[in-house]
Symmetry: C2
Subunit: 349 residues, 2 copies
């Protein structure tokens, strides 16, 4: 398990200040903005962060680590998660500069900074921590289905693709559940979720034999809570990541699923392969889940970015007709329909 204890982070975005280019940065600023000292992005230095992100008001955009030091940071967070997870060319300079200032480095990349001899040696000589959030360590547990016996109600966010709102949905539902008086936990299963929540396991980085075991173990850590919102990964139809998605589904044995979908997205992002329909995803997910534990989809979280409010409402109505389920865009219109559906489904008041 990884813990992220830093309180004054510089978030590196380096010219990629778009929701998909810097998915991690956007989410860390959104959900842990109090702990962000500055955003490092020379192309946008001096601009207002909220003009790019829609949030993050008051957080400065700076051009260099040197300039960021005036905001008394304790760490540099690599705020991008490219496909494959390698260290982009040119970023090494920012990282070595931060290490020389004694800052911790928080990375969610597949490539492990600790295994980079130059960075590891430099970090040692400057007393700087290298935190590879994606590194699950020597995790070697095979899941045996025991999560089904936990008393905590388990809700897994699943989706028709990657990058379609599974983490944000789990985070927003956790907050809404707490407002409803439920004792709710967020369970982080990816690097960004871990950076936000402060603990978790990047399940996509666990050896495939043990990926479901990691999901099972994470559920046990919140066994004494009333309800847990488990962040899903990938999609059960994704050419590359479906195994990760199914490991989460069978390792966590959820009672309820929330299906995340973007209207009009008919191909898997990045690989450009056709995706199955929303209703097929719902049917397949329920069938797979029920092979292990009684479960159904309680509602749909629609990601309506780029649509007007009227268009978004029409898309929500269409998805509700198509699925006969409660549907909302949780960011635009709030979580109420999903919280009501989950409360009824799981017997929570």
């Amino acid at each position: 398990m990884n813990c992220v204890d830093f309180r004054r982070m510089i978030v590196l975005t380096d010219g990629k200040l778009t929701p998909f280019g810097a998915k991690t940065a956007f989410s860390v600023v959104r959900y842990r903005g109090d702990h962000v000292a500055a955003v490092l992005d020379p192309q946008h230095a001096g601009e207002r962060l909220e003009d790019h992100m829609g949030w993050g008001q008051g957080i400065p955009i700076v051009a260099s680590v040197e300039e960021a030091m005036r905001y008394e940071p304790d760490s540099l967070l690599v705020g991008v998660a490219p496909i494959g997870g390698q260290l982009p060319d040119g970023w090494r300079g920012y990282i070595t500069s931060a290490i020389r200032h004694g800052l911790g480095i928080i990375s969610g990349l597949h490539v492990m900074l600790r295994e980079d001899e130059e960075l590891a040696a430099l970090a040692r000589s400057h007393g700087a921590a290298l935190l590879d959030v994606r590194d699950p360590g020597a995790f070697d547990r095979v899941a045996d289905g025991r999560a089904a016996d936990l008393s905590v109600k388990r809700v897994l966010t699943v989706g028709t693709d990657c990058a379609i709102g599974k983490m944000v949905t789990a985070l927003e539902l956790t907050a809404a559940a707490r407002r409803a008086g439920w004792d709710a936990a967020f369970v982080a299963t990816g690097q960004t979720g871990i950076m936000i929540e402060g603990w978790g396991i990047a399940v996509d980085r666990v050896i495939s034999d043990f990926a479901a075991g990691a999901a099972e173990w994470l559920c046990e850590q919140v066994a004494d809570r009333q309800i847990a919102f488990i962040e899903g990964q990938g999609s059960i139809t994704h050419p590359g990541y479906s195994g990760v998605s199914l490991s989460l589904l069978h390792g966590s044995c959820p009672e309820a699923l929330i299906m995340c979908h973007q209207p009009g997205r008919t191909k898997h992002r990045g690989v450009e392969q056709p995706s199955a329909s929303l209703t097929e995803h719902i049917a397949l997910s329920e069938r797979l889940a029920n092979a292990r534990h009684p479960c159904r989809v309680s509602g749909v979280a629609l990601y309506t970015t780029g649509l007007s409010d009227d268009e978004a409402r029409a898309a929500i109505d269409a998805a509700a007709d198509e699925t006969s389920l409660p549907v909302t865009d949780i960011v635009r219109f709030g979580c109420d329909p999903l919280i009501a559906a989950l409360g009824a489904h799981l017997g929570l008041g």
Copy 2:
């Protein structure tokens, strides 16, 4: 990728001379018996191997590495694959003795012998190779569905559980396809398959984000063949291993599946959790596969160990009625019904 080039192996079974206790040993002796110099098992030394395995005639069972040396071995193969894959207590003695005799060590355990400081140092000083067959190395490719475009016909063996005949079925079908005049390849995806075929990747040991990528890469290695029989792993309903199974299904984009099943096995072995029915496995597998590539189950390979021939025939008839598919026990009654079905399905003469 791992290559296994040894030609005079001592196979360690150490008192576990049963099909499930020494699954790897049984298969290596069965499919690569010409390369087995001796079986090391003090509890059964001097007994006839074929009385335990049903094959392996003429291969001696010995009590010690010392005794095995008279058969001029070049290596010691660890012939057991326990759940979790750790090195059993007491086996270290056999391994160190073999290393001191300069023998290579072939291991399919999850624990890596090369990372064991004592064994690694001893191997260096005696010039002995440590071959961790399960180690996929730094494999980091995300599958993007490209296996669907390969001209080689891809047949994946899948199953209702672990240890239910997926590897043996793929091996026997490969041999039968060659007898039918097809240019057939066997694609090894697990440690035993690699030990038998001499190359492959243990997909269950690949980081879960890259497991489908490993399956895709393996298919590319046989792209110039007419047909490939890909060894499946686990089961899409297994509490621990379903992610591995789905990674293989979506990484290899098969045209045809052969479903392996044991009549009467209603729980997943080892974890003792209920398993879905044969027909549910067929329906779910086809639905998942078709999310990526047109595919159907061509037939069922029934594992009828413990039944009389009459009982086995009745079980086969019952499964054929239940599924409306060709069904056989490939070991007891041969592969003909499945080869005929695959030939018709895939348009092979």
